[in-house]
Symmetry: C2
Subunit: 226 residues, 2 copies
DNA sequence: CGCATGGTTCGATCCTAGTCGAAGTATTAT
DNA sequence: ATAATACTTCGACTAGGATCGAACCATGCG
């Protein structure tokens, strides 16, 4: 009989298949309506509504009503990080591990994590930033490095527009596929925005996969990885 | 209807109060018997046995039989990291947050995480190591830094005896209370061993709290933090 | 050998929680 | 206004699973 944070309460929220599907869908970063999430979870509207109310009440989801739509999104990056951690053990502890299909390979290479890029490409990018003193890492805090301002100006990212108020500009986020960190935070989000705006890659509409076009990948690599 | 790692399966394992209590107890790092865990969870022996079988089957726990005892422990550091992540959101998303009592304060300052030290002291230690080039951090990988071998020889830790075979010597582990990383891996475990062997601190028998004696704290700080 | 101790299996009980149909509320469209 | 859409609430049904007592294996001890 120990106390400590009430781990069972929130784990049981994630522990239902319908809710897990919804959360997985929301890992894409977009806010989705109740109907969309019901469809995503393969469950009726009343059921979905009940689930969503529970998760919002439990602090996992944030909601915002717009007209007759109600949008749900993950309550914050911390929730996303937790889900990635759970995926990590589900991956290794999983009993089957039968289908490392092509879809899976794409997921490992580049995908959306909440609002930023994750996967092998993202991990390589953060490593490069640190190695070139563009960012400085200390613990899980990541700060702008000496070479940072010039680099991002070159790369077309305006640091002054980042909403660095309440939210840290940079943050480390543990990657379930590679099990190393990638860049989260406002800066991570801005880089993903740039990639999509430049049409270097597009999001798979049915999953979190981010698919680079061949020339897009080259542009991305010369801009952010070289 | 998405696929991806079967997150609901393992989250539901953590989502039961009895099982959550057992897992929390095992976060102390020690292997415990079925009876001890039953007591810890406040549940009968048959019930506990059933829970333990499920968790072992699900890949969360490892078991080893010794005579008529059966010992259970967390399956690995990855499971511990996941539990810490869940504690993190339970902490912030928690509805009540009523009791930041003294017990809680001790937990935040120094506690055991699987087999190494966690909490404010541990985070400060890792920060210091990186700042003084004792360790070098790159992503979540932590490697020995230039000043490392001399420092640890001085501090009475024999690096050559670390079982650095399958297990990485150093690793970052996210701290739920401070939300920054502390040092895990074989080196982290060795440092905790040292602290306890020197009697600088002792473990609270009923929790994960690590309690420094006043002179012990000074010794720890001059050895590892100064 | 018994006999005690640590654990598991079985069976029965009970209750929580997921599910959906139908009816109710709010907001936009016509 | 009426109608249609998006969602919530209510009520009833059901299934899964947590729980424990009792009986059943296994190991260690005298």
């Amino acid at each position: 009989m120990r106390e400590g944070p009430d781990i069972a309460r929130i784990a049981s929220l994630v522990g239902d298949p319908a809710r897990a599907n919804m959360l997985t869908a929301l890992m894409g970063g977009a806010a989705l309506t109740a109907s969309e999430l019901a469809l995503e979870a393969g469950v009726g509207l009343p059921t979905a509504s009940s689930h969503l109310a529970k998760m919002a009440d439990g602090g996992l989801l944030a909601q915002s009503s717009q007209g007759r739509h109600r949008y749900f999104r993950l309550a914050g990056p911390q929730v996303a990080a937790m889900l990635e951690a759970i995926m990590g053990v589900a991956e290794t502890a999983g009993p089957k591990r039968v289908r490392p299909g092509p879809r899976d390979a794409s997921m490992r290479e580049a995908r959306v994590c909440y609002d930023h890029l994750a996967g092998g490409q993202a991990v390589a990018m953060l490593d490069g930033f640190v190695a070139r003193a563009i960012l400085a890492r200390d613990g899980d805090e990541i700060a702008m490095g000496g070479a940072g301002p010039a680099f991002f100006a070159d790369a077309g990212i305006d640091l002054s527009t980042l909403p660095g108020k309440r939210r840290p500009v940079c943050r480390a986020c543990l990657d379930w596929s590679v099990r190393r960190s990638h860049l989260a935070g406002a800066l991570g989000a801005a880089i993903l925005d740039r990639i999509l705006a430049e049409k270097w890659a597009r999001r798979d509409p049915d999953s979190r996969v981010v698919r680079f076009t061949p020339p897009g990948r080259r542009s991305f690599e010369t801009t952010f990885l070289s």
